[in-house]
């Protein structure tokens, strides 16, 4: 058993990946804080984790698009967490985003502005404390903009770059920053899409991978399913004159 109980904060505690990550930490004896826009959905996940693991779990209201509330949200937490995992994000609808500016802006903000600014606030506090781990769940879609999902992908690319810069800056302080690129995950967000089994992870796999990387001292940038690193490297290296002719 741990001497002092550590605390995890999951930003986006009603998502399937957020739930799985929180469960993994709770099973290891951590106290868990979940954020939720929908209090009832947050409560449902918190009760689930508490009953399974016998852990202390609380729910904290947060809308990741309401940037003005971020500072008071962090100040209002019962404790400054040891680890913060952001699974905030929204796949959106690429076709709709091409014509609907409001929808496109929402996708950009939910996948970049919201999670980046939130982790940025924690980064300052962690740097002052000189400890802590920040985990950002980004996406392989951010490795190169593709015609089928570049609005979402470009926001994730921004988030990936933000995390990279943060990691670079905070390295001397002892604060760790981890970028997670899950690839396909079987969740509610992807339930309507047919996914290739080899490249598709279960939410629990993502939770386990995050815990291993963040608390076990793994890599800085992790792909949950190994083949993704190869797939995305190949896609990134294709010359633009070839790439632009592909339907990806």
């Amino acid at each position: 058993m741990m001497q002092t109980r550590k605390t995890l904060l999951v930003l986006g505690g009603t998502s399937d990946i957020g739930r799985a990550t929180a469960l993994r930490y709770a099973a290891a004896g951590w106290r868990v804080l979940l954020t939720a826009r929908d209090a009832e959905a947050g409560r449902r996940n918190a009760d689930d984790i508490a009953a399974r693991a016998g852990a202390e779990v609380s729910v904290h209201a947060l809308d990741a698009l309401n940037t003005g509330s971020f500072l008071s949200f962090v100040d209002g937490l019962p404790v400054l967490p040891d680890t913060v995992v952001s699974v905030v994000g929204e796949l959106g609808d690429q076709a709709r985003a091409e014509g609907d500016l409001e929808h496109a802006a929402r996708v950009l903000r939910a996948n970049f502005e919201g999670p980046a600014l939130l982790l940025g606030v924690f980064a300052e506090r962690f740097a002052a404390r000189r400890s802590g781990t920040l985990v950002g769940v980004s996406s392989v879609a951010g490795d190169r903009g593709r015609g089928s999902n570049y609005v979402y992908g470009s926001a994730k690319a921004g988030f990936t770059a933000f995390l990279s810069g943060l990691r670079n800056r905070l390295a001397p302080t002892g604060v760790r920053v981890i970028t997670v690129k899950p690839g396909f995950v079987r969740t509610r967000m992807t339930s309507a899409i047919k996914l290739p089994p080899l490249l598709t992870a279960e939410p629990s796999e993502v939770g386990t991978a995050i815990y291993a990387a963040a608390e076990g001292g793994g890599g800085d940038v992790i792909y949950v399913r190994g083949p993704w690193r190869i797939v995305m490297t190949v896609i990134s290296l294709l010359p633009e004159r070839v790439f632009k002719r592909l339907r990806l």
Binding site: D48, A51, R52, G54
Partner: protein, 444 residues
């Protein structure tokens, strides 16, 4: 519309498919459709969890609600898998009071089938350990049912195959265990008489079950290995496996059947060879107590993912009957004899003792139950029709969670609670709204 089957992959039916995201979503989904039945993880073998028109999946109702370590009471949504309960709570020293032969079943499904374990003779079925449940009635109203509250509806829902409405939440009792290991002893029974005697003799054990070789004939007809077991104490673990951790984690499935095997793979010769080896291996180890991990002890086939594919694409049927004690010996003898005579290869055959159930149309009753699986071929289906005659003649009945093919007449003969169940369904309006392929086939 999608095509659905049970675990036996026979029969196949088209159905509309609905998924409930939360318990709160169930009333609207249910009251908006007729000919609907709830489906958990699809482990009923036949057509019990295929809606006559619409199938309502409860698999996303997978949240635990509360666990009280002092009382061992666990409240969960109905789609929570037994595997999840075990993974979370065995390491904390709790074990469900009753578990069936697979952990990939939902709590709602276990209540609906009133599943039994190897301890039915002592502890009753799963339903006997349900403190209360929340049921969404055909028109969308939600009721709490327990042995004290809405008792008739509770009794009809235990073993009621989902035909009273959709279970969305339940509170069940777990027992404290001191380790995650089982202390097992094996008794060799040379024939059916010896097997039944050994089961009666081991009735004092918490868990007792016989594996029966359905291909042995003549003097060896019904030869069996009888397994009796208890939850092991820490002292047992020290004595039998020094250094083992007291609460070993669940075993991940290592093997998988990656594709449908050709239908002829499981023939008389291969199964006979398997049975011979299995029997000899068990006989060699008989007598000495063994320490067995809870996972392979209770769920041996769960170690092989998709084992239902070994029967090929045509699928298979499970045949499980229970025969009252007085008539059990001659009836079981005749059933085993007929199967052995036809040389039908049952890969898995199990014999155990059951006690009674409080469920209105629940399967369990005092007697001996025999379960076997057979390929779903025309000659097997004919053989099973003959066996139905033996079962009915002996005052027995067939298990609805396994059934894919019995007639309405066989069903009616075996279930004296049926008139009361029908009456209750009429009163609820369930007769017009809640219907599975099974309930339509059996005119429930």
């Amino acid at each position: 519309m999608i095509e659905l089957t049970g675990w036996g992959r026979y029969p196949r039916h088209a159905s509309e498919w609905l998924e409930a995201e939360t318990p709160a979503a169930v009333p609207a989904l249910q009251s908006g459709h007729a000919g609907l039945v709830a489906r958990g993880n699809g482990r009923a073998y036949g057509d019990a969890a295929i809606g006559e028109r619409v199938t309502l999946s409860t698999s996303r109702l997978d949240r635990f609600r509360a666990f009280d370590p002092a009382s061992g009471l666990l409240t969960v949504e109905a789609g929570v898998l037994l595997a999840d309960i075990l993974a979370a709570l065995v390491p904390r020293g709790y074990f469900p009071a009753v578990v069936p032969g697979t952990k990939f079943v939902t709590v709602g499904g276990m209540i609906a089938a009133d599943v039994h374990g190897k301890n039915h003779h002592r502890d009753g079925g799963f339903g006997a350990h349900v403190e209360s449940l929340k049921l969404v009635l055909p028109h969308g109203q939600t009721l709490t049912c327990s042995p004290a509250e809405n008792a008739a509806l509770f009794a009809a829902t235990i073993g009621g195959m989902g035909l009273t409405g959709t279970i969305v939440e339940a509170t069940i009792r777990l027992r404290p265990v001191r380790t995650g290991w089982m202390r097992q002893r094996t008794i060799v029974a040379r024939d059916l008489d010896a097997a039944m005697a050994a089961l009666a003799e081991t009735a004092g054990a918490t868990y007792s079950v016989a594996w029966i070789d359905c291909l042995a004939r003549g003097a060896s007809l019904g030869r069996s290995l009888v397994y009796a077991a208890e939850h092991a104490t820490p002292e047992d673990v020290v004595a039998l496996r020094p250094g083992a951790e007291p609460f070993p984690p669940a075993r991940p499935g290592r093997l998988a059947v990656p594709l449908d095997l050709p239908g002829g793979m499981l023939n008389r010769a291969t199964v006979k060879a398997f049975n011979e080896l299995y029997f000899r291996r068990g006989a060699r180890r008989a007598g000495e107590p063994a320490l067995v991990h809870w996972d392979p002890y209770f769920f041996p086939l769960d170690g092989i993912a998709d084992w239902n594919r070994i029967y090929g694409r045509a699928g298979f049927v499970q045949y499980q009957c229970v025969i009252p004690p007085a008539a059990a010996r001659p009836a079981l003898g005749e059933i085993v004899e007929r199967i052995a005579h036809r040389g039908r290869a049952s890969f898995l055959a199990v014999l155990k003792q059951l006690g009674d159930s409080a469920g209105t149309i629940a399967f369990a009753r005092q007697g001996f139950t025999l379960a076997l699986d057979l390929p779903a071929t025309a000659d097997v289906l004919t053989l099973l029709d003959e066996l139905d005659g033996v079962v009915v003649g002996a005052g027995g009945r067939l298990y609805l969670a396994k059934d894919a093919r019995q007639s309405a007449a066989t069903f009616e003969a075996g279930y004296p609670g049926l008139p009361a169940f029908r009456e209750l369904r009429r009163a609820l309006g369930a007769d017009r709204r809640i219907a599975s392929r099974l309930s339509a086939r059996l005119a429930v």
